[in-house]
């Protein structure tokens, strides 16, 4: 890995056992010298139920601008549910979601995408009939304004627009090193590459917040290393704020600036990877405790 992400200390000291960092407006500096911005998203006392099942119970945490924030937990901990709340697939029964300093009303997922939140999916949701380039171009959907009469004629402003967005997509494709499969229909690509195309599509939206749902799931070691590198590079080069879910703790510890731990929908801990790793409740949840 290009730079070490281990042993990073958060200025705000411990934030474990759900004890939130209070002074959220302040920036903090990570150990590797990056200055993290103010709070971009804040989840306040989120509770999500499906009938009688409580998927998330009273969870609160925040995401700072420019950081890599991980949400971890064993299977069934409510991680994906949390991501689905952030991007609007689920609407929590209780609690508030604050994005960029404003309380967010109940919105449809596509409206949330318009606000600048992009995501990838655990089980890869690509447009299988389309090529890599076309998939990435769908990420520019919201930015293309010319109406379809002009687009069908492919003249003047509509053509300029298409060319402009296409250029940006090619840049992202180069960045993620998938030039070789630009014209390949994504359905026929190997799993690891599909994950990368999905990341490219999300990046094409130039998101203010990028959500990654188990970006490393089902990958071999080499693919995991590649993906980790790309996530760090994206954060570095584009300054993208990233929130990612993982159940493999070791991956997260090298990647994330701060980590939220969920178990059975409840928050166990919130803090730097180091703090979280030393937390007894987290250790119990991962290793199991004898009662």
């Amino acid at each position: 890995m290009r730079r070490s992400r281990g042993n990073r200390v958060n200025e705000h000291g411990s934030g474990i056992e759900g004890e939130q960092v209070k002074d959220t407006a302040t920036n903090y500096v990570t150990e590797d010298g990056r200055t993290i911005g103010g709070v971009i998203m804040e989840m306040k006392n989120i509770t999500l139920r499906f009938g009688g099942v409580v998927a998330i119970k009273d969870a609160s945490f925040d995401i700072h601008e420019g950081e890599i924030r991980a949400i971890i937990g064993p299977n069934g901990a409510g991680k994906s549910s949390m991501l689905n709340v952030i991007n609007g697939f689920y609407h929590p029964q209780e609690g508030e979601v604050w994005f960029r300093g404003e309380k967010r009303p109940s919105m449809k997922p596509y409206e949330i995408a318009e606000q600048g939140i992009a995501r990838t999916f655990q089980n890869i949701a690509l447009f299988h009939g389309m090529t890599t380039v076309e998939n990435v171009m769908t990420g520019r959907q919201l930015m293309m304004k010319k109406n379809f009469f002009w687009q069908m004629l492919r003249v003047g402003p509509a053509l300029d627009e298409e060319v402009k967005h296409r250029r940006k997509c090619e840049e992202i494709i180069d960045f993620l090193e998938i030039q070789a499969i630009r014209k390949t229909p994504v359905g026929s690509l190997p799993y690891g590459l599909q994950k990368r195309v999905e990341l490219a599509r999300a990046l094409a939206m130039e998101p203010k917040l990028l959500l990654l749902d188990e970006p490393m799931a089902g990958m071999n070691v080499e693919e995991k290393e590649d993906m980790s590198r790309f996530i760090l590079d994206v954060n570095d080069q584009y300054g993208t704020t990233i929130a990612l879910i993982e159940h493999d703790m070791s991956v997260v510890m090298d990647l994330a600036d701060r980590v939220v731990v969920l178990d059975y929908g409840k928050m166990l801990a919130d803090g730097t990877p180091d703090e979280v790793q030393r937390n007894q409740a987290v250790i119990d949840a991962y290793l199991g405790v004898e009662h």
């Binding site: 449809k108 992009a118 447009f127 009939g129 389309m130 769908t138 959907q141 379809f148």
Partner: protein
């Protein structure tokens, strides 16, 4: 016994060989009805791709659009304006279907949505009869500047007749298909349509509104229905019995695959030409009325050996 074998395997080909001009005539007729089948199937495919709904109402949409056009003209509205108003009506229909039906039935099983389209069919039949009456009407062919009359082609002393309206139907259908293909592949909305056809969640995550796309698809299917209504109405008449031809789209879809636009076109042509040729050359062996069931037999054979159709996506079940 020998007669039957001769009748099946030899006589039809002898006839084709002896009267090539007649064969050409048969092929042309089959081609034209094939194109019209393809248009109806296209309406089904558009909606099926975008929302996974088998729209039973596509047939009645053909009738309804035709009736609206003719009915408006009968009220004294000039033909061009009637055409625009009919398009507006089809848009209003698409919008209402999304607003009143699809939006409320989202995530329901396919069969529920299918039932909803049967309900829609009955509503449209009722409305059509209430507003325009049940009697057969003549398409306003001349007012829409569609040609009438025919041309004769005499290849080597033979005789093939081309109705001008058939030629117009073929040309307009081809233009519509090319236009749709272009729209799908080259525009932002087209890209969004294909995205929705592929994956709903992923579409939402890149900021595509499903509701908006459904309105556009149903409107596109409405336009296809209107063109079909005009063309089919010009060849026969505009009446409620027209919706029965929509059932012919079923074998076309089985043949071409429910999700494939080229499949709808090729399937339509195969069924159209196949049933005409079979009717003329093999029909006498079965008595008459072969045209009524031939398409379904082909469909049955396809279902047995290639259930996804010629161009459909392969059905892979994960075990």
């Amino acid at each position: 016994m020998g007669d039957i074998i001769y009748g099946i395997f030899a006589d039809p080909f002898v006839q084709m060989w002896q009267m090539p001009d007649f064969l050409m005539q048969v092929l042309w007729e089959g081609f034209v009805s094939g194109i019209l089948y393809a248009l109806i199937a296209l309406g089904f495919v558009l909606i099926f791709k975008a929302s996974g709904i088998f729209n039973f109402a596509q047939g009645i949409m053909v009738v309804f659009s035709g009736l609206t056009l003719v009915g408006l003209h009968a009220l004294g509205v000039p033909a061009w304006l009637a055409l625009l108003l009919t398009l507006a009506t089809m848009y209003a229909l698409a919008y209402s279907v999304e607003r009143l039906i699809l939006r409320n039935l989202v995530n329901q099983p396919d069969i529920i949505l299918f039932m909803a389209t049967i309900g829609l069919t009955n509503i449209l039949i009722g409305m059509g009869q209430w507003i325009f009456g049940g009697e057969t009407k003549t398409m306003i062919t001349k007012e829409l500047f569609l040609p009438s009359g025919s041309s004769v082609w005499e290849p080597g002393g033979g005789l093939v007749i081309f109705q001008h309206i058939d030629i117009a139907a073929a040309v307009i259908a081809a233009a519509l298909i090319v236009g749709l293909a272009f729209f799908f592949s080259k525009t932002k909305v087209g890209r969004a349509l294909r995205a929705v056809a592929d994956d709903h969640q992923a579409s939402l995550s890149v900021g595509i509104s499903l509701n908006h796309i459904w309105v556009i698809t149903w409107f596109a299917a409405g336009i296809v229905a209107l063109v079909t209504g005009i063309m089919w109405g010009a060849r026969s008449d505009v009446s409620f019995s027209l919706q029965i031809i929509a059932l012919k789209a079923l074998p076309v879809l089985v043949l071409g695959g429910f999700t494939s636009v080229p499949g709808a076109i090729v399937g339509g042509l195969i069924i159209g030409i196949g049933e005409k040729v079979f009717e003329i050359y093999w029909g006498p062996l079965f008595g008459s009325g072969v045209e009524g069931w031939f398409a379904y037999v082909i469909a049955l054979v396809f279902l047995l050996y290639r259930p996804q159709g010629l161009f459909g996506e392969k059905i892979i079940e994960r075990v």
